[in-house]
């Protein structure tokens, strides 16, 4: 048991260290997030009332795309240099290793999105109540995006042009999160209670955390074989 915790801890530390050694690349998904949001006023209309109304959807769609963008290389490096094989040939259950890896990834990709989002909210003229709700939905929702996205990544790992296929596979699974998160923010702007939506998001987060690692581990084994 102690060996397991140490192994997981070292895995998280290693992932964070590797991410830090490529810190230039860490900013890319965040820039992507920012760019997509910027495109909406330019492409639709900068009118404040309109922006305020579409802000929840804009932020969350941008978040979905940025999450997929950042997940594409989640396993690729390990797959190519043989580290993934060694992980699968270790002595600890792969689903636990997967949780550690995705947690580390979320710390460097999901968490910064949470920190950047209020700025984007200001760009889209969101009231403070909406921004607070947005942060809460992102806190609960981005882990779901990470885990479900990681499943798609694991499934398309060996494929050459996996990126487009990844989007097709994962987007239907993201839709429930999108629906409930955006509605929570809209309801919060109108001063309505949002417990129901938050509970649903929390339930999805728990479901993702407990069930997807098994599917991801199975997908990794399939991709490596």
């Amino acid at each position: 048991m102690k060996g397991l915790f140490f192994a997981l801890w070292m895995l998280v530390r290693r992932e964070l260290l590797l991410a830090f050694r490529h810190r230039g690349e860490l900013a890319n998904p965040l820039l992507f997030f920012l760019m997509i949001v910027t495109l909406y006023p330019l492409g639709v209309s900068p009118e404040v009332d309109l922006l305020r109304r579409i802000a929840p959807g804009v932020i969350w769609i941008a978040a979905l795309l940025a999450a997929l963008f950042s997940l594409e290389n989640l396993f690729r490096g390990d797959y190519e240099d043989g580290t993934l094989e060694q992980m699968l040939l270790g002595v600890y259950p792969v689903p636990l290793l997967v949780i550690a890896k995705i947690l580390a990834h979320w710390l460097v990709s999901g968490l910064p999105m949470l920190l950047l989002a209020p700025l984007l909210g200001v760009l889209l003229a969101m009231p403070p109540a909406a921004i607070a709700a947005m942060e809460l939905t992102l806190l609960l929702g981005t882990p779901v995006l990470s885990f479900v996205g990681a499943f798609g990544v694991a499934l398309t790992l060996g494929l050459r042009r996996g990126g487009i296929l990844l989007t097709l596979l994962v987007m239907p699974l993201y839709i429930p999160v999108l629906i409930f998160a955006t509605n929570a923010i809209t309801a919060a702007s109108a001063g309505l209670p949002i417990e129901g939506q938050i509970y649903f998001l929390a339930a999805m987060a728990l479901l993702a955390l407990t069930l997807t690692p098994l599917a991801i581990a199975a997908a990794l084994k399939i991709s490596v074989s």
Binding site: G3, F6, A7, M10, L11, R13, R14, L17, L18, R21, H22, E80, D81, G82, T83, E85, Q86, M87, L88, L89, G90, V91, Y92, P93, L97, V224, S225
Partner: protein
């Protein structure tokens, strides 16, 4: 007394069977060399034996139990070194040892790691990122990692390819020591093996 048994293994690529009805038994102190032309399925066979791929037919048994069902027990006693070494280019040689072995259940102190690296001829290179080391040196890092695991069975896919003359001699010595201590090994290699122990050969046609 055989510990590793392979029975009736068949590997299919596309429509053709690369090989079929492959079987053997391995006992402590044995080294099995897998030979065959390019594309005859040597790497595929080793991956099946390591448990990374599933054979189209047949099974692999470790201590009498199928490795497909008792994977973790098997993996605790087996070390696999494939074409992709599993060495992270952005980590130093020392970091590669210290941060990977916990996954195999091994907690190495820094001094022990340094000793291992010296044993494989990387003394003085411990703090250099692996991307700045040569292919042969990367291979040595992978060998050090394998040594630390003290696994009973070594499965090595063309381990001599990137090594220089010293490296070849080093690996030969390590294999000798391993087999003399009761270990087992399965190797593919294009070069003649310079080991002093008994070699069984398996030829894939």
């Amino acid at each position: 007394m055989g510990i590793l048994t392979a029975r009736n293994l068949e590997c299919v690529r596309g429509d053709r069977a690369l090989f079929s009805q492959v079987g053997f038994t391995l006992s402590p102190g044995c080294l099995l060399q897998v030979e065959g032309a390019n594309g005859s399925g040597k790497t595929s066979l080793l991956r099946i034996l390591a448990g990374l791929s599933r054979p189209a037919e047949g099974e692999v048994l470790w201590r009498g139990r199928p490795i497909a069902e008792y994977a973790i027990d098997y993996q605790a006693e087996m070390a696999y070194l494939g074409h992709a070494l599993g060495v992270k280019a952005d980590l130093t040689a020392l970091e590669n040892l210290l941060w990977f072995l916990p996954l195999a259940g091994i907690r190495l102190s820094e001094t022990a790691a340094l000793t291992l690296l010296a044993r494989v001829g990387l003394a003085g290179y411990e703090d250099i990122p692996a991307r700045k080391l040569s292919a042969g040196q990367n291979q040595r890092i992978a060998l050090a990692r394998m040594l630390a695991r003290s696994a009973l069975l070594w499965i090595l896919d063309e381990p001599f390819t990137a090594l220089d003359i010293d490296g070849v001699a080093l690996l030969g010595g390590l294999l000798d020591a391993h087999l003399a201590a009761g270990g087992m090994a399965i190797i593919t290699s294009h070069q003649p093996l310079l080991v002093s122990c008994l070699i069984e050969k398996l030829v894939l046609s």
